[in-house]
């Protein structure tokens, strides 16, 4: 393979070094380590960003438990579970893309990046179906919001506080919406990676963008791993 024939000298001087090595780094190893650390620092700012929304969700679920239970049970648990599986699938294909990059296998890298992009698209498609359902049910916060009374196990109808239910759905759309936006950004990044891989920019000795965008993709997967139980699952058994 032509891109593996790059000669890396033991002590890089100015005239002989890897073409992707920036001059302010000693070697490829140090450059990769710095890049990966920088990506993690960015992901920690993302943890704090989503963390604030998770904190808001926990506080309001505690304060307006009744509306949050009924809002949560109105979500489609099947679609939520399928989407969780789709995202885990996409994380596997992303990990395999990094694996292919490490081995310098260009075609396999493009194949797995493309599969990851497809799974990301499937996730967003299913999310769009869920949003459409919520739109039809008038569960989108705003002037046409309406949460129908629910039927309790004893057969009696129960009115859910409209303002509190709107708060639940505001958080639902803010959290899943920000997550979906990260998925869309991720799809753009994957497309750029596929183009770069197709142009032969990566090799077994240089694949840092694949690795870092992989970290981003897995992070977005982790956010969903927590959104799924918090929004869809934890209120199925309740005592209200």
């Amino acid at each position: 393979m032509s891109d593996r024939s790059v000669v890396i000298h033991e002590s890089p001087g100015h005239e002989a070094h890897h073409p992707m090595l920036q001059h302010h780094f000693d070697d490829m190893e140090q450059q990769k380590e710095a890049s990966s650390l920088g990506m993690w620092i960015f992901l920690i700012t993302e943890i704090m960003f989503f963390g604030g929304m998770f904190a808001a969700y926990l506080v309001y679920r505690h304060s307006y438990y009744d509306a949050f239970v009924w809002g949560s049970t109105s979500l489609d648990i099947k679609l939520g579970a399928i989407n969780t599986a789709v995202l885990i699938f996409s994380s596997l294909t992303m990990a395999l893309a990094v694996h292919a990059a490490q081995l310098g296998m260009r075609k396999l890298l493009i194949f797995f990046l493309f599969l990851t992009l497809v799974f990301g698209g499937v996730f967003l498609g299913i999310k769009a179906i869920e949003y459409k359902q919520k739109y039809d049910e008038h569960h989108i916060p705003g002037h046409s919001f309406n949460f129908e009374p629910v039927i309790l196990p004893n057969g009696k109808p129960h009115n859910v506080d409209q303002a509190n239910a709107q708060l639940f759905f505001s958080l639902y759309f803010a959290m899943t919406g920000m997550h979906a936006m990260h998925m869309i950004v991720g799809a753009g990044l994957l497309s750029a990676l596929i183009y770069m891989a197709w142009r032969g920019k990566f090799s077994a000795s240089y694949y840092t963008p694949v690795e870092n965008i992989g970290l981003y993709w897995h992070f977005v997967d982790i956010v969903w791993i927590f959104l799924f139980p918090l929004l869809y699952l934890i209120s199925r058994v309740h005592h209200v």
Binding site: A55, V59, T84, A95, L230, L233
Partner: protein, 111 residues
């Protein structure tokens, strides 16, 4: 010096982690409908949220350690990741100790 960062994880391990994550997703969706509440000292305590969050934390740990290669990363990266999680726990736990303890407050005595 950190260990060599170019650790190549075998495909078999990736597939094993993937299968574990899928099985745990099925388990957490199934368990969500089983009543795990217990009567502790006259109070009904519902353990469903705790079980669901424990499974989610375990799943996230698998993704971080293996898919995100933190298990094979330098000590510096491990410390940074750990610090991030620790700060998130400060945010969530200090906020919740405030809100959860408000109901424990008793009304001021009437004079």
């Amino acid at each position: 010096m950190s260990e060599h960062s170019e650790h190549i994880v075998p495909v078999k391990l990736y597939v094993a982690i993937f299968l574990t994550l899928i099985v745990l997703t099925g388990v957490t969706a199934y368990v969500a409908f089983i009543d795990l509440s217990a009567n502790i000292g006259g109070h009904v305590v519902n353990f469903n949220p705790l079980v669901a969050l424990a499974i989610a934390i375990f799943k996230a740990t698998l993704v971080i350690l293996f898919f995100m290669h933190v298990k094979y990363s330098s000590r510096l990266t491990k410390i940074v990741v750990g610090a991030g999680v620790f700060w998130l726990l400060i945010l969530l736990s200090l906020t919740m100790t405030d809100y959860l303890s408000r109901s424990l407050q008793t009304a001021p005595p009437m004079h």
